[in-house]
Amino acid sequence: MPTLGADMSVGTLMTWLKQPGETVARGDIIAVVHTDKADVEVEVFTNGVLERVLVEPGAEVPVGTVLAVIREDGAPAAPPSAAPAPAAPAAPAPAEAGAHIAISPSARHLAEELGVDPALIEGSGPGGRIQRKDVEAAAAAGEAAAAPPPAPPPAPPTGLAVEDRNAAMRRAIAAAMSRSKREIPHFYLGQTIHMSNAIAWLAQENLRRPVPERLLHGVLLLKAIALALREVPELNAVWQGEELVLREDINVGVAIALRGGGLVAPAIHRTDQLSMDELMHAFRDLVSRARSWSLRSSEMTDPTITVTSLGERGVETVFGVIFPPQVAIVGFGTLVERPWISEGQVLICPVVNASLSADHRVTDGHRASAFLAAIDRLLQEPDEL
């Protein structure tokens, strides 16, 4: 049972997606695990054959329990140390249009009748197969919410009501945040960043993109954070066993609020290596999957830092609470126009307030301010991002 986030001590194996005897390849999803925070897909990181499963669906087991035995391919094809080769695909595979969606024939018809997009429904059947009741729930919830964003809230997994799951998530957040505030000596820095260059660059870039593929300014912020972390690597790290462990990959976790309440902060893997378009795609995919409870296990476990933004609510400054075992969280407020004095003149400029909450056990104000300064500098030269 992989650990899938802060304070997860147990998980429930929901479904095996591979059967003993089947070949598995690095990156394959072999199971779905229910945790207090989400239903997450369990990835494998090796090529081989699923020899046997040791935990049956429905069983709740502690983190660290061996779920299955995978016999690796005979030759040591990939030595463990030669980790992220440049060729390795960085972005999580975006859901392709027209990809196979597991849905029962009857549910497919019903979805057509009710005008619900099956791609946005989480199935409660084996392997996530969508059933009639999932469609019905999605349709009902869609009407109730009547919100412009396309994704209706997901139906609960088998055996769990929505209220139960929300309550469980609330408990998990409570545990993680309490631990964070109890154990981590936070300190906070803030900086206002001038966004004129970034906005102008974005406007120019979006001229050549169809509407659905246009970039949002958020991806510029993400990219800037990722690149700034290269300069201040001690913030791209976790605190484990009373010491700082630096992470090689820069996996920025993105806090995503869920419609039913609560939040998750899954990672965009190797954020620093993605192009703007890849990053935009990855971000959209992540939001969609987070809201349909279909994140992968690695996305839950791998963030090396988290970014949170409450800009859409008009909040100008956010001071976040660090997700253990990470050591920092970056906050962004809303993009607003403010008077800006430059060379003795008052100008009206778009600005964003960036904040940093950092763990004083591992860093201090000097290094932390260098990190914010790097973000600022990077955003002034968006061509370089």
Binding site: S104, P105, S106, R108, H109, G125, P126, Q131, R132, T158
Partner: protein, 326 residues
């Protein structure tokens, strides 16, 4: 309406007696029918009433007397032949497949074979692998004959009377565990519809399709499931050939989930046929893959615990339904 309490065995006997009394073309033929009263005591007492010409003992010559039944039917009689068990009926398959089923067609419709053949089928009585199989599906495979599986006391009597009136060969499979089954039926024997399946219990959540000796198991399973809040609809196929799929599909349109319970072996089973027809005609109704519960693919064993494990049971039906995450 006056009713009377009958066992399944008495119901079959009542139908035989009624047919003998009302149609002089009817005669019975089979092993140990007369003095012995039939291996399952179905024809007990009929010899005294109707005499040895019309309640005719045969030697152990299944092919001979089933074939003679075909010939007598061609000759204007309405023979009702009893073959002791379905396993023994294999000795007569040449007559069934090559003659009874073909003659109307092969003669260009010139002759019909109004023959009724009854036999006991199925396991559950610790009779091992030469007396306990459920081979109805083999008969249901054959165009030109009708295959009936009465699961209730009323059907045991009414289907036999309908079969005697039918112009074509009708095979009736009486599950051997049903003979002591008791129920209240109308006093006056009458033929029943032999063209349609029937809903024996209504439910919204899942359809259980079955026939013969498995009907009781499915109704028991439905009771168990009700306690879990699952309402199972139970369909008794009644007629195995020609299959009435319209009743099955109508139920599936309501429940979207279906389990077929069939005491035959799974491979090449009636359950497989029904499943295939659902794929062809009811695919868009399905919210869950069609499930089958059949006998284990073994010669039915003697020891009770092994036989129990080999045959479908109410508990296994209910467990299968629960796995369907209703």
């Amino acid at each position: 309406m006056t009713t009377v309490k009958l066992t399944y065995r008495e119901a079959v006997r009542a139908a035989l007696s009624h047919a003998l009394a009302t149609d002089e073309r009817v005669f019975l033929m089979g092993e140990d029918l007369g003095g012995y009263g039939g291996a399952f005591a179905v024809s007990l007492g009929l010899l005294d009433e109707y005499g040895p010409e019309r309640v005719r003992n045969t030697p152990l010559s299944e092919s001979g007397f089933v074939g003679a039944g075909i010939g007598a039917a061609l000759g204007g009689m309405r023979p009702i032949v009893e073959v002791m068990t379905i396993n023994f009926s294999l000795l007569a398959l040449d007559q069934v497949v090559n003659n009874a089923a073909t003659l109307h067609y092969m003669s260009g419709g010139q002759m019909s074979v109004p023959l009724v053949v009854r036999m006991a089928t199925g396991g559950g009585r610790q009779l091992a692998a030469q007396h306990a199989h459920s081979l109805e599906a083999w008969y249901a495979h054959i165009p030109g004959i009708r295959a009936l599986a009465p699961a209730t006391v009323d059907d045991a009597r009414g289907m036999l009377l309908a079969a005697v009136e039918d112009p074509d060969p009708v095979f009736i499979f009486e599950h051997a565990t049903l003979y002591p089954l008791e129920d209240e039926v109308e006093e006056e024997p009458r033929p029943v519809d032999i063209a349609h399946a029937i809903v024996r219990r209504e439910g919204m959540d899942v359809t259980l399709v079955t026939y013969g000796g498995s009907l009781g198991k499915c109704l028991d399973a439905a009771e168990q499931l009700q306690q879990d809040g699952i309402e199972a609809e139970v369909i008794d196929l009644r007629t195995l050939r020609p299959l009435d799929m319209s009743t099955v599909l109508a139920s599936l349109a309501k429940t979207h989930r279906i389990v077929i319970v069939d005491e035959g072996w799974r491979t090449g089973s009636l359950a497989g046929e029904i499943s295939a027809q659902i794929m062809e005609s009811g695919f868009d109704l399905l919210d869950w893959p069609v499930q089958r519960l059949c006998s284990a693919e073994v010669p039915i064993p003697y020891a009770k615990h092994l036989e129990d494990a080999a045959l479908p049971s109410a508990g296994r039906v209910a467990a299968l339904v629960r796995e369907m995450a209703i």
